[in-house]
């Protein structure tokens, strides 16, 4: 009974920890991707192609991180 209770509370702690990390990861990566996309677009429109490069890089990294988290989610769901 005590072991079962410990198992449930340990699962709860893991759930809170990993779900928080995953959510912050999803939110941050997508927000950074949007910042990169919008700023890169503004730089290009302002005639600064070189200035757009770091923003484009940020956008690519953000979208890549977001996609990686989504794929991880699909793998988790399909393999449970």
């Amino acid at each position: 009974m005590i072991l079962a209770a410990q198992s449930v509370s340990s699962q709860l702690v893991d759930l809170v920890l990993y779900a928080t990390i995953a959510t912050l990861g999803v939110s941050l990566s997508f927000a950074l991707a949007l910042v990169g996309t919008v700023r890169a677009s503004e730089s290009r429109r302002g005639g600064s192609v070189a200035g757009a490069v770091p923003w484009t890089l940020l956008a690519v990294l953000g979208y890549a991180a977001f996609a990686a988290l989504a794929v991880k989610g699909i793998i988790v769901v399909t393999q449970k």
Binding site: A4, V8, Q11, L12, D14, L15, V16, Y18, A19, T20, A22, T23, L24, V26, S27, L28, F30, A31, L32, A33, L34, V35, T37, V38, R39, S41, F66, A70, K72, G73, I74, V76, V77, T78, Q79, K80
Partner: protein, 367 residues
């Protein structure tokens, strides 16, 4: 012959439950997407229907887990399963009528508990399993989703809040397509398999397959089809509640609610922790609204939803017990389930018949 007819009725009723599960839970995946106009409603429900259908085929590991450990296996008969399904379907329809998002899984578990209790008494009920598998997750899911959806929207506003609103709104609307698709897929893998499990349980109880048999292919296909069709038919009342009535949602809030919800759901899946998709998305929507402003959440609507959650288990159990009790009046024969089914079909046709003139009038007016 009689027991085979009961089995046919149970399978038919299980697929009817699957259909109600689909249209009742359409809102979980698409309400925020429709609420923020990321997708037109019909496209959103079509996408959710396809992903629910696909999700039903993805993994079969959770099939046959419904009711397992919740009640004593010896107390499960086809009539008990029938009573449980009647309880779950009735509660799903009641909450849908009032536009309240409640857990279909909790309704089914409540139905199983009530029907088994009516059949075999309190000794058939495993209280500890109900606490661990239903009550604690029911408390944890919405609170966790509420808190981390609030954190997610705070990050969104902090990082992207100073940009021009137009591109940001468009970007978050596009992001919602990904998060709502993930939600729909997760829903299909979870909920269609509950029906598969119920049908498998009935086949085992009736002696058609052995206890360690795999889920038959026709069960997988019919369950996937029923939940897909149910999702496509769309539970618009509940969708309105989740998408527009709890908070007035902007695309970053919709994305944050769904992103937080999907993260909670997938983490729970990985840990083998059973959570309700309904509780998760409702908590996420409230959290995304409250983080912007506490008064942004319509707490009256939230209170009604909470009340529906509290009532789901006992109400479905009471209806399940009543349905089993009615069937048992006629002994173990097919008469009870047959009468209940015919009455339900008659009631359904009567309601449809009453709606027809109004629909005809609308159609004429449109023309």
């Amino acid at each position: 012959m009689g027991s085979d007819l009961v089995l046919v009725i149970v399978v038919f009723t299980a697929l009817a439950f699957d259909f109600t599960n689909g249209f009742h839970d359409t809102a979980n995946a698409v309400a925020t997407t429709v609420g923020t106009r990321a997708l037109p409603p019909r496209v959103a429900v079509a996408l959710a229907a396809i992903l629910n259908f696909v999700g039903a085929f993805v993994s079969l590991k959770v099939a046959a887990t419904i009711g397992k450990g919740i009640v004593d296996a010896g107390a499960v008969t086809t009539t008990v399963i029938f009573g449980a399904l009647v309880g779950a379907i009735t509660w799903n329809l009641v909450t849908w009528w009032f536009g309240l998002p409640s857990s279909s899984s909790h309704a089914l578990i409540g139905g199983v508990v009530g029907s088994a209790f009516a059949h075999a008494g309190s000794s058939a009920i495993r209280g500890k399993a109900i606490l661990d598998k239903v009550l604690i997750p029911g408390l944890v899911a919405p609170i966790l989703a509420f808190v981390i959806a609030g954190m997610a929207i705070a990050i969104a506003y902090l990082v992207a809040g100073r940009l021009r609103p137009g591109p940001v709104q468009r970007g978050y609307r596009a992001g919602q397509l990904a998060t709502s698709s993930l939600f729909a897929l997760a829903h299909g893998t979870n909920d269609a398999q509950k029906t598969m499990g119920v049908i498998l349980l009935a086949l085992i109880a009736n002696g058609n397959v052995s206890a360690d048999a795999d889920v038959p292919t026709w069960v997988i296909i019919s369950s996937a089809t029923a939940i897909g069709l149910g999702t496509y038919s769309g539970g618009w009342r509940i969708m309105r509640t989740v998408g527009t009535r709890i908070i007035k949602m902007d695309p970053p809030q919709g994305f944050s609610a769904q992103g937080a919800g999907a993260s909670v759901l997938f983490t729970a899946s990985a840990l083998g922790y059973p959570l309700s998709t309904t509780h998760v998305i409702s908590g996420g929507v409230m959290g995304a609204g409250a983080a912007k402003s506490i008064s942004a959440v319509r707490w009256g609507v939230a209170g009604n939803i909470l009340l529906a959650w509290l009532l789901t288990l006992p109400a479905a159990a009471a209806i399940g017990a009543a349905a089993y009790g009615f069937c048992s009046i006629f002994g173990s024969a097919v008469t009870g389930p047959l009468l209940v089914t015919i009455s339900a079909l008659g009631l359904g046709l009567a309601i449809l018949g009453k709606r027809s003139p109004r629909v005809a009038r609308r159609t004429k007016a449109d023309a």
